[in-house]
């Protein structure tokens, strides 16, 4: 049983199709890295898989409540401390292991600092630590390594590898090499949508009632 199966998926951003005909499957322990030039629709594809928007065509098969999504914004509140931020997400997702997650991303010494006082890279690490407390098997990551230094990237790759080792899966859009031996790479460039592909209804209509 695969964690995620995508069949012939087409996604749209602002009413325009970006990629179409994408199919892949992720089994427990697997990772898939999406590549492609800027503006191709990697983020749109990830948001669709995360359930934040609906696909234009195709099908996404996965269990309910399987996805932990991490995007460019980390979802941190500057007025709360690192630990409070993480505890909040742990309680919302019904997960636990806040201390373990802080230790895994090397944030233990910063736990009592307000998120406003963290550097960009430290915020990013805190945002990624959130993945660990969700307890969700499928990680959908959009450029997870932005503003991380080399040591943090290696540390994060280790965290992802551990997650895969525990039967999780990861779908990652990234431009840098994460040194994940078990990861497959999918280049989305061949799936770029043909311009002028017909859309059944006016896009505004889809937005409102789709």
């Amino acid at each position: 049983m695969s964690l995620l199966a995508v069949h012939d998926l087409a996604v749209a951003r602002g009413g325009l199709r970006t990629v179409e005909g994408v199919s892949f499957a992720l089994d427990p322990g697997q990772a898939l890295i999406l590549r492609g030039p800027n503006g191709l629709g990697k983020t749109t594809l990830l948001r669709t898989v995360a359930g934040l928007q609906s696909p234009v065509a195709g099908r996404i098969d996965m269990a309910d409540d399987a996805v932990a999504y991490a995007a460019h914004a980390d979802g941190l509140k500057p007025a709360l401390t690192a630990r409070e931020n993480l505890t909040f997400w742990a309680r919302v997702f019904g997960g636990q292991g806040v201390d373990r997650a802080l230790a895994a991303m090397d944030l233990t010494t910063l736990a009592t600092r307000p998120a406003a006082a963290l550097s960009a890279g430290q915020k990013r690490r805190l945002g990624l630590a959130r993945l660990l407390v969700t307890g969700r098997p499928l990680w959908v990551l959009d450029e997870p390594t932005v503003s991380l230094d080399a040591a943090s990237v290696a540390r994060f790759a280790q965290v992802v590898a551990d997650h895969l080792g525990q039967g999780g899966a990861a779908l990652i859009a990234t431009h840098i090499d994460l040194t994940l031996p078990q990861a497959r790479v999918l280049d989305l460039t061949p799936f770029r949508a043909r311009p002028g592909a017909p859309i059944a209804r006016p896009s505004g209509f889809n937005e409102a009632f789709g």
């Binding site: 995360a50 359930g51 999504y69 914004a73 979802g75 007025a79 709360l80 909040f88 997702f93 959130r130």
Partner: protein, 218 residues
């Protein structure tokens, strides 16, 4: 859901959270009106119920755009939408947090501000009761407006234009309850109407607001 409520309350009471802003605005408004229309009882007492209710309405409006805008900016809203929590529940909780930080202080402070406007003492129970019944509807309707305008630049003004007309029924019956309290009449009928409006809003608006959020998150 409790976690979300606690987080929102904590954020509101920390630096920059805006807790107390609504009450301070309400106070200033109540203090300005006597300067504008004259301080004598004969002028102020008849308009006091209306002024107090309009003041509460505007004070409520001040902090509405914070309900979802901040969560949208830092990405929390995307994450909440993927959380096991139903979005309708998240809307209801955020409206409740807004009411606790804005509406409830208004209810508690209103009797004192009523003094500034020469509101007769016998009307105070009616004023407090009408505000306690009406302000939850103000917060929930505001959450709906905030859900529609989330992600828009300068959405605050549009939010006010959208939400204020929806406040009219609550304002009419709330001010009517207070006016009848001033004149010592029975307040039963407008009270039932106000309670009905609030209950309908609390039951239906979370669904509408969650639908608006889903469209805006795409």
């Amino acid at each position: 859901m409790i976690a979300l409520l606690i987080r929102d309350l904590r954020l509101a009471t920390r630096a920059g959270g805006g807790f107390g802003l609504g009450v301070a605005f309400f106070l200033i408004l109540s203090a300005l009106v006597p300067f504008g229309v004259g301080p004598d009882r004969a002028t102020l007492a008849p308009v006091a119920p209306g002024i107090l209710w309009v003041g509460a309405l505007l004070a409520c409006l001040l902090s509405l755009d914070r309900i979802f805008a901040l969560d949208h900016e830092d990405g929390s809203l995307d994450l909440l939408a993927t959380a096991p929590l139903p979005l309708e529940g998240a809307v209801a909780i955020k409206a409740l947090a807004h009411w606790i930080t804005t509406g409830l202080p208004l209810v508690l402070a209103a009797p004192i501000f009523g003094l500034l406007l020469h509101l007769p003492m016998q009307a105070v129970p009616a004023l407090v009761l009408s505000l306690a019944l009406g302000t939850p509807a103000l917060s929930m309707l505001g959450a709906f407006g905030a859900a529609i305008t989330v992600g828009l630049r300068r959405g605050g003004l549009l939010l006010s234009l959208l939400v204020l007309p929806l406040y009219i029924p609550t304002l009419i019956f709330g001010a009517e309850i207070t006016r009848r309290g001033v004149e010592g009449q029975a307040i039963g009928t407008p009270l039932v109407f106000l309670a009905g409006i609030t209950l309908a809003v609390l039951a239906l608006i979370p669904l509408a607001a969650a639908a608006a959020l889903r469209v805006n998150l795409r």
